[in-house]
Symmetry: C2
């Protein structure tokens, strides 16, 4: 069992084995966020999204909708490592898709509940995502062995990114200038990604993958993290085993608002997920 599986292995409360599957039903699943998923002092937002989606999907599998198709997530507060609850409310059960609202919640030291992420997700089956009629082709990127590994010793910023011990991320050299103080300014970062523990990619991990790496604003010379206000994603296919290829781009920056797009292809070159987020950014000199 891989490390991400441990996070996603939630236990449902009240003796239920698989969570809520009826319209209006609310279920609570419990798990633990390990320190290995920290970026600085906060758990990676992608882990929280994958956790929330996994909880709802396990409940909706019994109505034939085991796969997340599209989701939106608003990030409300930073999540420290520790116990976590996922509260799932089923908003709609339809013939081909069902919709759930998901709240990722932690108890604070003050004994109160603190919501970390509010998500809504539409679930169905990715069997329907065949065949591919049209999709963006993967960019030309040198193979993983010809790319630059992102490791914790590569910079002071990277040193606090605990997840880099779990991820094998290889940055396309033509987009890696940011790591040595020479961002290209184009707003493009590409990277290969896989888990170090040998876990093969699946649809459940795609909400994690789209938010696993550095913000594209690094390539615009903006230092520091770009806080996500809202992220929406679509799962568009089941990934084949092997490396995932990510491309992060931005074509829209207005004031201190950045729109970041991510595409994820599997090892066969199939587009398997996309995301778009609105994030805050401070460009150099502004």
């Amino acid at each position: 069992v891989g490390e991400l599986d441990e996070v996603l292995a939630l236990t449902w409360g009240d003796g239920a084995s698989s969570g809520p599957s009826e319209f209006g039903a609310v279920g609570v699943a419990r798990g633990h966020l390990g320190e290995g998923w920290l970026i600085g002092h906060a758990i990676n937002g992608g882990v929280l999204m994958a956790l929330g989606a996994s909880a709802a999907a396990s409940g909706l599998a019994s109505v034939g909708h085991p796969d997340l198709l599209t989701w939106g997530a608003h990030f409300l507060s930073a999540a420290p490592a520790g116990p976590v609850e996922v509260r799932v409310e089923v908003l709609r059960v339809g013939r081909t898709v069902s919709t759930a609202e998901i709240r990722v919640v932690q108890q604070g030291d003050d004994g109160r509940s603190h919501e970390r992420v509010r998500m809504t997700g539409t679930f169905g089956t990715l069997d329907r995502a065949e065949p591919v009629h049209r999709a963006p082709a993967p960019p030309e990127v040198p193979g993983p062995d010809s790319c630059l590994p992102a490791t914790r010793d590569s910079s002071p910023l990277a040193a606090v990114i605990a997840v880099l011990d779990r991820l094998d991320a290889r940055i396309d050299p033509s987009t890696a200038g940011f790591a040595v103080g020479r961002p290209t300014g184009r707003g493009v970062i590409r990277a290969w990604l896989r888990m170090r523990d040998g876990r093969e990619p699946d649809a459940a991990m795609l909400p994690y993958a789209v938010d696993a790496l550095m913000p594209v604003s690094f390539d615009l010379g903006a230092p520091g993290w770009a806080p996500t206000m809202e992220l929406t994603g679509q799962n568009l296919g089941r990934p084949a085993p092997g490396w995932l290829l990510l491309e992060m781009t931005t074509d829209t920056v207005v004031g201190d608002l950045l729109v970041e797009d991510v595409c994820v292809w599997d090892s066969t070159g199939r587009l398997v997920a996309r995301s778009r987020q609105l994030a805050g950014v401070r460009l150099p000199g502004s």
Copy 2:
């Protein structure tokens, strides 16, 4: 007062004049959806989004966050014309942005509440969206007078689209082949848009604008409506008076799932909003 203003003019319950503005507060606003906003038997989804956003924005104006910045909407059931409630829960009040959950609800003939749309929105001020550092440029489109008006008498499908009486929509002739049975297959539709009642565009109407026109799947030869599962949008600037220019595109269709992107520019050529939705589609021959 324009017709869209009448929809957006909600009355808050419990004597409150401006809705909830504190963390955890829940408020209910009431309004009426007129038959003029119908597409077939259902109120246009964009009207529901603009209505929900307007309710939350009016509540959050008192904390300095009067503008919707980004939102996600899951469509749960079709809304007939008639009374409507908007339930707003404030999830977070921050320094620069606040987040609210919004439920658009109607009472059914059975006396029960039926939720139509579940939204989450992040609100702030569009003052921060200056200057434009980068944004997609508007496409070259002939002026409105050289484009094709979309009217109810243009096709049997259009005949049931009551909103066409309120919208002045002019389709770029190079993307209007779908109207005469000759879709281009490229997956692009462009159009000028304004309200017939003379209302000038503003940020509050942008969630309506992004979903006001036909699905881009018309240009792929797919007949009929493409039901939206989830739509996410970003407001990126305050529109200047005059026509809005919309471009609807799709670069991703897998099985019966379609990703549609919309960009909206104002009369000065500034990008003011974007949206992306996942919708169901049945391509011809599949």
